[in-house]
């Protein structure tokens, strides 16, 4: 009985020792895994930052940013896998699970994947860059960032707008600052009694006297047609895109002043009632104001 007790005691001690050794091994594996993870991620960040610096000039900020992000995610994946392998996960199991996961995630995140691919095409296409002003549908704003899933805009009323990349790929959008100069088209109506050539001359003089209006490409006055109430003209002038807003604000003021000086009428919409010869004239009654009405 005593021998049995001694045997049990010895076995228990051995098991304890084995357990301690195993625990120590496991702890060491976990520490190594954490070390690989931390150092690996730091290295990945440093490497991708160096990659960004090396490619920024050649590829531009947008493409270099995307490359940096993809590079970081790829390296981070390798680091995580190496870390998991260190604590005993089988790589083949991980890859198998990743395959199944990819299919599952693929079905679940079709929209995100579409945005991701659209983002790559957008960057490759170089239709706009950071700082450009673009118009998408009703939204006009400055491009703050071009990310994997969306483009972030700042509207001029300082509202932050996120536009999915897929939307930009699918729909029309305008880049208002792509070219260095822009044309402003003003629709102007003048009364039928006015001489079009005189109006044209006044408009050209306004453009000539305004220093922000480009001399070339030359200003244009295009006759648009005989409108309901006015002769419709289009006045097209060019400006440096940085001065566009100022031009748009100031040129109508100057046109109005010159028209007033020259007595050119800008008519408001009006209607003429015509009664044909087959009908009697419309009766017109002139009423006097009731000023002398006696009081009770």
């Amino acid at each position: 009985m005593a021998e049995q007790t001694e045997f049990d005691s010895t076995l228990s001690g051995d098991l304890q020792a084995v357990t301690d050794v195993l625990m120590m091994d496991v702890a060491q594996q976990w520490m190594r895994a954490i070390f690989i993870l931390i150092v690996g991620l730091m290295l990945a960040r440093l490497l991708t930052r160096a990659l960004y610096n090396a490619t920024e000039d050649a590829m531009g900020v947008d493409s270099a940013t995307i490359l940096r992000r993809f590079g970081f995610y790829g390296l981070a994946l390798i680091v995580v896998m190496a870390s998991l392998r260190e604590i005993g996960f089988s790589l083949s199991v991980i890859l198998g699970a990743a395959g199944i996961l990819t299919v599952a995630v693929g079905f679940a995140s079709q929209t995100s994947a579409s945005n991701l691919i659209s983002g790559l095409f957008l960057v490759a296409e170089k239709s706009f860059k950071l700082g450009d002003v673009i118009k998408v549908g009703d939204i006009t704003g400055e491009v703050l960032s071009i990310d994997l899933l969306s483009v972030k805009l700042r509207q001029f009323d300082n509202i932050y707008v996120r536009v999915p990349n897929e939307t930009l790929i699918k729909s029309n959008f305008s880049n208002l600052t792509h070219f260095p100069i822009r044309r402003l088209d003003l629709q102007i109506g003048v009364a039928y009694k006015e001489d079009i050539s005189e109006v044209r001359e006044i408009l050209m003089r306004v453009a000539q006297d305004y220093e922000l209006c480009l001399d070339q490409p030359a200003p244009l006055v295009i006759f648009q047609g005989f409108g309901d109430s006015a002769l419709n003209l289009q006045f097209s002038i060019w400006a440096d895109r940085r001065n566009y807003l100022q031009l748009r604000n100031e040129i109508p003021e100057q046109i109005k002043r010159r028209f007033d000086e020259a007595g050119i009428e800008i008519p408001f919409p009006h209607r003429s009632f015509y009664v044909g010869s087959q009908t009697a004239p419309l009766p017109v009654v002139i009423q006097q104001p009731e000023t002398n009405k006696s009081r009770d």
Binding site: P180, I181, L214, D215, Q216, A239
Partner: protein
């Protein structure tokens, strides 16, 4: 300011240095521009308005009885400096962008001919206090124009209408305008029609000649045999006792030789 009083005989230099103590005000009338400088404690205040006659040929300076107009077109800028220096320098300079001169009547240069055309351009004023540049404004603000083969490629320039005289003496002389001699050599096989002429003023030095007129480095455009490219050469004017350099070019052009496609030079 002895160097800017307009009554000094045989010296039409209206720019230069002046002492402006704290609490004083001075003013200039240069062409259509009226410019005021006020020195307050740690502060310089400049005001300007373009309401004069641009063809006025006299420049005037005063450090008393300056009346700042109450005009909606009055522009102003304040500069705060830690030093209490009182030396104000009014300098002159050429435009900060190229100037495009359009002859009132298009000019034709036949094959094998060369012609010297004189183009007049406005100048800019630079105000410095104790050597620190503070303000850079044109006497007359020229219109903008676009110079390039299309609306996508090109360069934003200033525009100037010119008579493109063929003799320097025929150019109307103003103290606030400079004259550039542009020689065009047509070595091509076709007649050259000049509708617009680009003068890269930012690369040119500014001089005062013996007639007290402002002139710049000379330009030579040589059109090649194919007629597609033109070589632009900036020819520095040799400085002599009759010619003093009054402002260095804003930008360096290297060896002064540039080849451009024809459309980038003559419009």
């Amino acid at each position: 300011m002895s160097s800017v009083t307009n009554k000094v005989p045989n010296d039409k230099r209206w720019w230069g240095r002046t002492e402006l103590p704290v609490g004083s005000l001075c003013c200039w009338q240069i062409g259509e521009l009226r410019l005021f400088a006020r020195h307050a404690v740690h502060e310089w205040h400049f005001l300007w308005v373009r309401d004069g006659n641009p063809l006025q040929s006299e420049v005037s300076f005063a450090n008393e009885n300056c009346e700042i107009p109450d005009s909606k077109d009055l522009e102003q800028a304040r500069f705060v400096l830690s030093d209490e220096g009182s030396e104000l320098e009014l300098g002159i300079q050429l435009a900060d962008r190229a100037m495009v001169a359009r002859p009132e009547i298009p000019v034709f240069i036949p094959v094998g001919e060369s012609a010297a055309l004189y183009v007049s351009t406005g100048i800019w004023l630079q105000l410095k206090v104790d050597g620190k540049p503070l303000l850079d404004i044109p006497v007359n603000r020229p219109s903008d124009t676009w110079f390039g083969p299309n609306t996508r490629e090109g360069e934003l320039c200033y525009f100037s209408l010119t008579r493109a005289r063929t003799s320097h003496s025929e150019v109307d002389s103003y103290p606030h305008r400079s004259t550039t001699s542009v020689t065009v050599v047509n070595d091509s096989a076709e007649m050259l029609r000049i509708e617009r002429l680009r003068v890269p003023t930012q690369f040119l030095n500014l001089y005062l000649n013996h007639k007290q007129e402002l002139v710049t480095d000379e330009l030579t455009y040589t059109l090649d045999r194919k007629g597609s490219d033109a070589e632009l050469k900036i020819v520095p004017v040799p400085v002599s006792s009759d010619l003093v350099r009054v402002a260095e070019s804003r930008m360096e052009q290297g060896d002064g030789l540039v080849t451009h496609t024809l459309s980038r030079l003559f419009g």
